[in-house]
């Protein structure tokens, strides 16, 4: 810090305005990043927006912009502690995979067995990924960047990080994509309702759906993660890391003999990885890497992704209703995004607001867990298809 001030005073004393403005811009960047870090911490604490991630990211953004800090890289290019963590946990995709094990251990697929049809909403609500990719291409991003930006629409932070790293994007872009993915995930209760209301009538929002409770055998719950992994892996080998980790987590949950491991995955593993993931991503948010128009565009694209995800699910439900005798409440389609269980709760609340006796929670939860499968599959599709184009 003192060295930078010295540089500034020396430049001013020598009337070297070019050098002075360079150092001045450096300080301005630092102040802006301190502010952004502060905003993320504020949103985490005050608004409860994904606090487990936004708070560490915000703090990481502050400490990495302290002048001449060596937490990421030293003055002579040697690796700092967070540089080491980034290279060995995020760049090599270890953390996203570990998070998936934890997420898998948290998911109960029972509602899906009770209303299997909801799986298709998990596919339809991935429309935002592809629409956003097209928008990003139109804004001048290359195909790999556009694909990774589109995956923000997976509403699934680990998938976004996984794809962005697989395409070997700059750290600044990975950081912007991660911040956008987690920020908008927390904004689902604000983003989804107006989009749903715009695309549905009051009558459609009041549609009641039957739900038949049925027992799901333990054997089915054990075979499901294994079968899904094998099928996904046979179709796209690139999906094995993501789908495999998710389903491994689910298998230890459902097998009935690894309760301790399941609990560890859901609590300690999830907490520890989230803690380190957040602060490590935050430390990549240097002013030089983060403060540019690409970041602004990516943040805007995140909103586009969530809007089109919601619209994709709702419009698909309306389309399905043209052929179905037993109508689907189109709002349930919007729960096909991966933000679990927030989206399902939003849909149930909206249904109750329209008709206090309307219960669509189980269908919404089924669509929501389908969205978790759909988002991983869509992320894998982006990896496969764009990977082929860029020769990955």
């Amino acid at each position: 810090m003192i060295e930078k001030f010295n540089e500034l005073f020396t430049a001013l004393a020598n009337n070297d305005m070019a050098a002075a403005s360079e150092v001045g811009l450096y300080f301005l960047g630092m102040i802006v990043m301190f502010f952004i870090g502060g905003v993320l911490i504020y949103l985490a604490i005050k608004k409860d927006y994904e606090p487990a991630l936004l708070l560490p990211i915000g703090f990481g953004a502050i400490i990495t912009n302290i002048p001449l800090t060596n937490i990421v890289a030293g003055a002579e290019g040697e690796q700092g502690i967070f540089g080491f963590l980034y290279e060995n946990t995020i760049a090599n995709e270890l953390f996203p995979v570990l998070i998936f094990i934890a997420v898998g251990a948290m998911i109960d697929f029972t509602p899906l067995f009770q209303t299997p049809f909801m799986l298709f909403f998990g596919a339809a609500a991935q429309f935002g990924i592809f629409a956003t990719m097209l928008f990003a291409l139109a804004l001048g991003f290359d195909i790999a960047e556009a694909g990774a930006i589109g995956v923000i629409g997976a509403a699934d932070g680990p998938t976004s990080i996984f794809v962005a790293n697989a395409f070997k994007l700059d750290k600044g872009l990975v950081a912007a994509i991660t911040v956008a993915a987690y920020s908008y995930m927390s904004l689902v209760p604000i983003i989804q309702p107006p989009v749903i209301k715009l695309l549905t009538t009051k009558e459609e929002r009041r549609i009641r759906m039957n739900f038949k409770q049925k027992n799901v055998s333990k054997l089915a719950k054990i075979l499901f993660p294994i079968t899904v992994t094998v099928i996904a892996g046979m179709i796209a080998k690139e999906s094995v890391a993501l789908v495999g980790a998710l389903m491994f987590g689910n298998l230890i949950r459902e097998c009935g003999v690894l309760d301790r491991l399941s609990e560890t995955a859901q609590k300690e593993l999830a907490n520890l990885v989230t803690l380190l993931l957040g602060i490590t991503i935050g430390t990549t948010m240097t002013a030089q890497a983060f403060l540019n128009w690409d970041t602004v565009k990516i943040m805007a694209m995140g909103l586009v992704a969530f809007i089109f995800d919601t619209a994709g699910g709702v419009l698909f439900a309306k389309f399905i209703n043209l052929f179905r005798k037993e109508k689907v409440n189109p709002m349930v389609g919007a729960a096909g995004i991966s933000a679990f269980p927030m989206s399902a709760r939003v849909i149930q609340k909206m249904a109750k607001d329209e008709d206090p006796m309307n219960f669509v929670l189980m269908q919404s939860v089924a669509a929501n867990v389908s969205g978790q499968l759909g988002s991983v599959v869509a992320g894998s599709m982006i990896l496969v298809l764009i990977g082929k184009i860029i020769g990955l």
């Binding site: 899906l112 067995f113 299997p116 049809f117 799986l119 298709f120 998990g122 596919a123 991935q126 429309f127 990924i129 592809f130 629409a131 990719m133 097209l134 291409l137 139109a138 290359d142 195909i143 556009a146 694909g147 049925k214 027992n215 799901v216 055998s217 333990k218 054997l219 089915a220 075979l223 499901f224 079968t227 899904v228 099928i231 996904a232 179709i235 796209a236 389908s370 499968l373 759909g374 599959v377 869509a378 599709m381 982006i382 496969v384 298809l385 764009i386 184009i389």
Partner: protein
Amino acid sequence: MFGQGLEVTLWGLAGVFSVLLLFYIVVILLGKLKDKEEKEEA
């Protein structure tokens, strides 16, 4: 580049729907499995 994006979109969406269709079939088939106790009760 935009053409490539459209191609990725079409194949990508088709891929997601196809894979989830397969998962749907898996869910339907596995849903028919019954536990021993249920079988005995039946």
